[in-house]
């Protein structure tokens, strides 16, 4: 009897970790979608994606600290700040640098990253700042399981956004153009599509997605540091690689897998192993399934990209 009860308790822990992992993983998935869309249209990694979300969040928390802004205002300012920073990054690292200079724009997105970190530190010197909690708190009990209200909001918002992104990509002219540019920006140009314009709009789109994801993550944690940018870039990139580059369902699955593995590791091995588990999983995934869990392999994608020449 005692053994059975113990086993049951262990099962409950495991499932509870999976639930928590899915909730946090949903936000990772949103970040991965941001990376995937930009990689799709540009064939370049935007390393500054995380830091631009971090800076947006700093605007949000600054408004909270100095103007005592309400939660929904903090959300709006975080998104707006991320979009403005995203446009800045796009103009400087991508628009200004020739399309074929892949390495140059990746390096410059790294340089901008450092710059954004500096701006955040100048704006709010110090390490850790409180980030206001969401308009909801508490949680819900489902039998033996508990779900935080913030997590529930994260999951719901993610589902809504993924549905919205899918509709945008597959049901609108903008989505058609964005996918055409992702497949072959040259051919898209011959159809009368302006790839620079589509890229600009794509940056605004991913900044919106990133701003929302950043807000959800920070309002759950209720604190923000300048390292948040690094953290977002890592989580987003790992989730994207896990799922397979260039695939939106892959990005979500990659995010969920990463979230679940992290929560399980944290529970069974301790906090210190949480981030390490992410790297181990990424390494294993790259060795065993270099194309990611879903979608096309990177190699094939790059083959497609190079075939344009």
């Amino acid at each position: 009897m005692a053994i059975e009860r113990e086993l049951f308790a262990k099962m409950v822990d495991f499932v509870q970790n999976c639930i928590d992992g899915i909730m946090i993983g949903a936000a990772y998935g949103l970040l991965a979608i941001g990376f995937t869309i930009i990689f799709g249209v540009m064939r370049r990694l935007n390393l500054s994606f995380g830091p631009s979300i971090m800076l947006g969040a700093f605007f949000g928390t600054w408004a909270f600290l100095t103007l005592n802004a309400a939660p929904w205002m903090v959300l709006a300012i975080t998104i707006a700040g991320t979009v403005i920073t995203g446009i800045y990054v796009e103009r400087l690292c991508f628009w200004a640098i020739r399309r074929d200079a892949t390495i140059a724009s990746m390096v410059s997105s790294f340089a901008i990253w450092m710059q954004l970190d500096e701006v955040a530190i100048l704006m709010l010197p110090g390490r850790t700042y409180p980030f206001p909690e969401m308009f909801v708190s508490g949680g819900l009990n489902f039998g033996p399981f508990f779900v935080r209200a913030e997590h529930l909001v994260t999951l719901l918002v993610t589902i809504l956004m993924v549905v919205g992104i899918r509709l945008l990509l597959y049901r609108t002219t903008f989505g058609l153009a964005l996918r055409a540019v992702s497949e072959s920006s040259d051919a898209a140009k011959y159809m009368g599509i302006n790839p620079s314009r589509i890229t600009f709009l794509a940056f605004i789109l991913v900044s919106l997605i990133g701003g929302v994801a950043g807000y959800l993550l920070l309002a759950t944690d209720q604190q923000v540091t300048p390292y948040f940018g690094l953290w977002v870039t890592f989580k987003g990139l790992i989730a994207m690689m896990l799922g397979g580059m260039g695939s939106i369902p892959g990005a979500i699955i990659g995010g969920l897998v990463l979230g679940i593995i992290e929560t399980q590791t944290q529970w069974y091995l301790g906090n210190a192993f949480k981030d390490m588990s992410a790297y181990v999983v990424l390494f294993l995934a790259l060795v065993l399934r270099p194309g990611g869990l879903l979608g096309q392999g990177i190699a094939e994608r790059q083959d497609l990209a190079f075939r344009r020449v």
């Binding site: 058609l176 055409a180 140009k189 011959y190 159809m191 599509i193 497609l304």
Partner: protein, 237 residues
């Protein structure tokens, strides 16, 4: 209908076009022959607004188009079927056709749907494969798709860059029959082609391009066929 007057285009330091003058008449197939590196594709890109001419004029129906962006050139009624086809490989056949109609799909959804049906009538194999990813089509089917996709913008002139490249001889015959059919329906075509034999069989008029200049122009039969072909492949040394 389309006149190119003394056009110069460079890639950085390299001069690709050194004063090209030619014209394509309405309803005709005009062929551009010449060896590799003669500037044929450069000329196509310059007309299409992908590359900027340093000097010279390009007129389409009397309107100057040499300063227009690629998108405006498509809107003016010029469509390019690029070399190597460049279909959107992981988009379906139908989505490729929709993308071809990008400039008008938002304004004229019903017209675009009608045109897609019309393309399916002309190219039944595309209808069979409408849900299939374009990258999984055979080379000939991809060429048909690239042609149909270009027609979706309702152009008045079609620029075709090397439609025979990488295709088996029998398929090349098919493609050229389609080119004849499209032309018979009234489409003006400017055709760049390495396969001089095939090109001369459909051309109303042809130009020889060498080192970025037109070195000969005429109708098929005006120059000894062998001579044209030799020069088209090898140039004059």
């Amino acid at each position: 209908m389309l006149t190119v007057g003394d056009v110069f285009t460079s890639y950085g330091m390299i001069k690709a076009l050194n004063g090209v003058t030619l014209s394509a008449s309405e309803g005709e197939i005009t062929c551009l022959l010449g060896p590799n590196g003669a500037g044929k594709t450069t000329l196509m890109f310059t007309i299409a607004g992908i590359l900027r001419a340093q000097a010279g004029s390009i007129k389409f129906d009397g309107q100057s188009i040499e300063r227009l962006s690629a998108a405006k050139v498509v809107e003016a009624g010029i469509a390019l079927v690029p070399e190597n086809r460049l279909v959107f490989p992981t988009m379906s056949v139908e989505e490729n056709l929709e993308a071809g109609a990008f400039i008008r799909v938002a304004k004229d959804r019903a017209g675009v749907d009608d045109d897609i049906e019309r393309m399916y009538m002309r190219f039944p194999v595309l209808k069979e494969r409408r849900e299939q990813m374009a990258g999984t089509l055979s080379g000939g089917e991809q060429q048909m798709l690239a042609l149909a996709r270009a027609l979706m913008s309702r152009p008045r002139i079609l620029l075709m860059d090397e439609p025979s490249v990488g295709l088996a001889p029998l398929i090349v015959e098919d493609i050229f029959q389609i080119i004849r059919d499209v032309n018979a329906d009234g489409m003006t075509i400017l055709l760049v082609e390495q396969n001089a034999n095939m090109a001369l069989s459909v051309a109303d008029k042809f130009y020889l391009l060498e080192h970025g200049r037109v070195t000969f122009e005429g109708a098929p039969g005006e120059l000894e066929q062998d001579e044209v072909i030799r020069r088209a492949y090898l140039g004059t040394e």
